[in-house]
Subunit: 415 residues, 4 copies
């Protein structure tokens, strides 16, 4: 491992750890422990769990005189690693008023200091940097979860508190879709083993055959989605997957998660508070069911993840710049291809292993592989994805009914 | 209303409002918003709800220029008064990180100031003092709930944090039961209309016939209950009500709520932290099912609430002194009758209206009457009952499976 | 045991066993195995279970060469006797297409033959006749359950098949309530130990004090209940117990169980098929919640079981004649006291042990005692109660939400 | 449409309709109405629903004087066609003792007569034969469901009744796996539009790229699966998908559905009754979870449906002969490729639309497309699949936890 790489990782470690604290700097002490549904984790829990990850997978392996910061943190802050041991039930993370936020911050400092100590001591086991790197990317994932969870927690409060006090940008007018063609042929997708970081589920790189099709250059907007609603989208069974339609019987759903109807007008709850619905902005916080039904109504379909990734290879697209002060997706006023960094896009692909995929041995093998069942792949990253965490091979995944991530709709069609 | 009575009420108002804050003074800011099960409310919610009660039922009626402290607090802090309007779902009180604790304290001050303003202005509507009095007693009920809920919240944390850092008293040896006889005859029970405060469910005073029986002078101890467990109490269906036994199928229960088994020893979680099980102390936090099964095993029974109240009339018993620094029931080393202030005692009586009971008109009619179904009466108050809140006619009530209140077992028998 | 008593019992055994078959004679082979909700048992199961009762509690004890008819019938046809052993889960009785109905009938004959053999052999153990008697009354209870369960099963079929093809009687006009007074005083209630049959829960006879009150001479009618509905009865929270109101959130209830609204008219499903709602007939198949809410709306209350039983002692009432061809309650056109045999009447009394009650030892101790929790007492019998099975001390009991028994509403009021 | 094709279809209609009755001929009248879990339908319901299908989709469209056999059968026997109208709730099909079996048989005759009338009248609308053909294949699917549901119903009876009274064949010894290679390359899969029948989900035919791999020539046996169990297969979290492992918390699963442990020996419930576990026979009635965990334990994987279908094209395999008297899969004693007709094989593929798939317009569009979510594809047919109903492009699908279909495990591996 060369010095530059080591320095790069050290810096990335420091900036990543710092960003988590910055994200939480805008919320109150009390906001740190709310869990408004079982899928959500309290912000404090995220701060501690990401720290536990470094403690467990790095310090425990590389510190000769390792002693855990606190004996019971392993039980409390292990998320789901059965191989590591028993853990606190997920749905009860919101019960944990202790350790206090201050103690969690101290825990972070303590572990950071020890990690930096290892960096400084010139630790050069090949596995060391690899685990640090996984830990960094793991924390980046939790940074997006922090935005998702904070947003949901604030939304579940009838006072609708805002994360940012200032309003989001005003959206320009959008233009009609451009349909970008993909010709029939063999393509390669998946992460290459070129040394840059990726999760195990992104590999191995392999060939796929794609029949000819086209993909839309921009996301579906709130205005377009509103047309679907007003055309009776939610009450026409023929537009919906059977599982979706049956779920409506218990809990009728009639809009994306954060849409709020007040006095006959639509509003959207955002990290900038409750705002009048922006018709030009991309529709967000939709389930797979909704994305699929919208596409059926529009007489097109969702792309597969293979098609999506090939499109990302074939066509230019701008890099997104993460801006913690602007956490609302932007409407697109030109014909560019906004494939990355606005909203995660539901694909038609169930989350399955690529050919040749094999989960790692040991606890880190639980990172991805065991979730490859009854979830759908989303691609592209969102305005809430932290810096250096978006790439075209990245496979995000959620159950078909989930709405609380920053998800949107990209359309595709046969030719 | 004479001046002394007015002064008495004013002082009681001030000291009651103050005690709520004192109870919460020992817990952290973050501890204030935990809701570890739907039955529990976050401490901050209690502080606000008791304030809302005065605001809604007193200020709104007696302030000419009434303006709510915050428009949405009625929705957020109404507990269950359907007549008042819609309210935030009970199971989601733990989602409310806002209003912040400081704002709730400000809310309390604001309402207190206005109430004191009414006192000072010589407000003498006969209903005014009555509503103030109900509000005070309502807050006292929530003070006991604060202890119950704080205890449950801390218990659900694997760190087992203590409310008090110091250990409870050491218990002296108990003595065998004394059985206090009640002779057959007509007795009067229920609250007299003598002007002293009582809830509507305590009246009206009426006659009952009691067949001869005897009641135990002291509560069942942890040691005695442990004998029941060790004799297979929890695995013998013939000891249990059918409903209890069937509930075990899903969720096997094998001890009172706060008993914890570690390394083959029994501990009890208390407000003083996790403590070795005190065999002489009264067994606490048992359900009606457990009280009933224990009695059946011991070949006796539970008293009815009528028998209990008559016993309280017939036999001397000491007044309990509320001690916020000692919140664990005391073992009894002599032959006295500890009927009041140690633990609420499950009676064999379902919670039903007394002859001639009629709920008040309006929202306050929802206070008691609508809960008279599928609950059991408990009598006697506990170490967590605040001062001036225990009396022999007081009818507390909980569902048969509940364990989180300070409940114990008093036995009775036929003669 | 004298010869007349023995002959009486022998005859009663034969006629009771025969009636069960007669009740089932009107339904098809396939109707015998439906279980339209977990509370319901398939008719075939009733035929077998009542037989198993005699086999287990009589034959097994008194036949020297006892051999069960079938080894697994104990598992299949034990209802809830934990002391006897494990049993087939209640909610899955409807899965049992085997044993075939013919085999169950053979089982009945086989056991009957053996029981008659014991009669004929002059068996005179004092326990023998006692167990036969319990078995007979047990079967009578299941006869009423047969009517309840057959009715529910047929109702859950969208074809609304009728048990009887002929229409019920036409109802005469009812008259206003007569209010029958009970003066304050000590009364005796409960079954005397005079040798006539009663269940253990009816004793022992004991004294109660009753405050003065009045009880209505007739049941509430469908027409009166319809007024309650049309006055918004089901949408006014202040009329309902909290538990009832909360249950509406999941499953809105807006009429007694068997009322059906078609083309803006009310019908009632009866054992005589779907009939236009008979406004003069007593309202039936109401829950405790509904009986209680109706009484509150009418500004009166339900009687306690003590008051009910004393009224039955004080005032004349006609004997009801069981008529298998007429299974719909009769409207009352005069001022008589119809306290028995029309519909079971919800009382305000939770089902609790009488003073001095003690369940029998052994399996039969499970008959009644273990259900004394969160159920309400109903009194009076119904048109579906078999002959010789109604008496004024009889305590029937059901959970507060149940509607499928033949239940009605009798009102009481303070004076 | 030529005369031969018409005659072929007419005969196939007659023989198919006849087979349904033959399948049910071995069970009792009462067996026809059991629904032992919501997934199961009573056999009588299948007999009527398949008839309703012809009545609704053929007779209603092609009979000029169409009158439904019974007005309410559309409500009762519509399975899930939202476009057709409201339907009886699936979980309550077991409540329907009426219409009686005889009436359902009459319904079948009546519809058959009318369909044959249309054949005889020379009806030659192009859609007519197409709908008849779909109806025939629809009924074949229900024939396999009949076997599945009858088996489950009988199994849920503690008497374990057998469908066949005779024992299944004795299994010969199996041989080690042969691994059949598939070379990297482009292959075509899916049904060609050559006029032979297929469901809409089998098309359109399209190209796929397959990376090199190998597929096993035979299914996993009971003996091999038993090794997995005995090696702690069910208690090692690292072998299981997260969703599977979490489902065990509520309902521990420790064997394939029909394995029964008695006196320390394993038995298997079959259509031939309870039999000692046949170690050489293929393991059956496993969930996707179990198939996946077994493969992980064996250090291989499941094939994708694309790989499976290509293997079926590349390698010879014998035709299976449907034998209603032998309904247990056969062990394989040679090296042949038993890919068809023993057991449905779980593939690693989630059930998704093929490129270019478009559901038909109208109610029949609900046949397949709306279920393309959170289900897995099974391939190959089973011993319970009726004649002429197995082909290599056939895509069966079930949720990942389902076990009641005749499912087995075929392994694949990377090279």
């Amino acid at each position: 491992m060369n010095i530059d790489h080591r320095r790069g990782i050290t810096d990335l470690y420091a900036s990543t750890r710092n960003l988590s604290l910055n994200i939480c700097a805008k919320i109150s002490n009390e906001d740190h422990i709310v869990q408004s549904m079982p899928d959500v984790s309290p912000p404090k829990w995220h701060l501690a769990h990401t720290t536990w990850f470094f403690e467990t997978f790095v310090l425990k392996n590389f510190l000769t005189d390792f002693k855990p910061f606190h004996e019971q943190f392993e039980y409390i802050f292990n998320s789901y690693y059965e191989t590591v041991g028993d853990f606190h039930p997920r749905a009860h993370r919101g019960d944990l008023s202790r350790p206090a936020l201050d103690e969690v911050r101290e825990y972070r400092s303590h572990v950071d200091q020890q990690i930096h100590g290892l960096f400084d001591s010139g630790q050069d086991d090949e596995n060391f940097l690899k685990l640090i790197e996984i830990g960094i990317h793991h924390e980046k994932q939790h940074q997006e979860l922090l935005f998702m969870d904070i947003k949901h927690n604030l939304f579940k409060n009838p006072l609708y508190p805002a994360y940012h006090q200032h309003a989001p940008h005003t959206s320009p007018e959008t233009k009609p879709y451009q349909w970008l063609p993909i010709a029939a042929g063999i393509y390669e997708i998946g992460a290459s083993a070129d040394g840059s970081f990726c999760y195990d589920n992104e590999g191995k790189r392999h060939r796929v055959f794609i029949e000819p099709m086209e993909i839309a250059n921009r996301l579906v907007t709130n205005g377009e989605y509103l047309n679907f609603i007003e055309a009776g989208g939610y009450v026409r069974p023929e537009l919906w997957l059977s599982e979706a339609w049956n779920s409506f019987k218990d809990q009728p759903e009639s809009s994306p998660l954060y849409w709020v109807r007040q006095d006959d007008k639509w509003y959207e709850f955002t990290l900038h508070g409750l705002q009048p619905l922006d018709l030009n902005a991309p529709v967000s916080h939709v389930s797979y069911y909704e994305a699929d039904a919208y596409a059926r109504w529009a007489n097109v379909r969702l792309p597969t993840e293979q098609e999506w990734e090939v499109a990302a290879q074939l066509y230019d697209h701008r890099d997104r710049i993460f801006d913690i002060d602007h956490l609302y997706p932007s409407a697109q006023s030109d014909d560019s291809f906004d494939i990355m960094g606005q909203l995660w896009q539901w694909t038609a692909s169930a989350y399955s292993p690529y050919p040749g995929f094999k989960a790692e041995a040991g606890a880190l093998g639980e990172y991805n592989g065991k979730f490859m069942c009854n979830q759908y792949v989303l691609r592209g990253g969102s305005i809430a994805s932290p810096p250096n965490h978006i790439r075209s091979t990245y496979r995000n995944f959620f159950p078909s009914h989930s709405q609380w991530m920053f998800s949107g709709i990209r359309l595709a069609r046969e030719v």
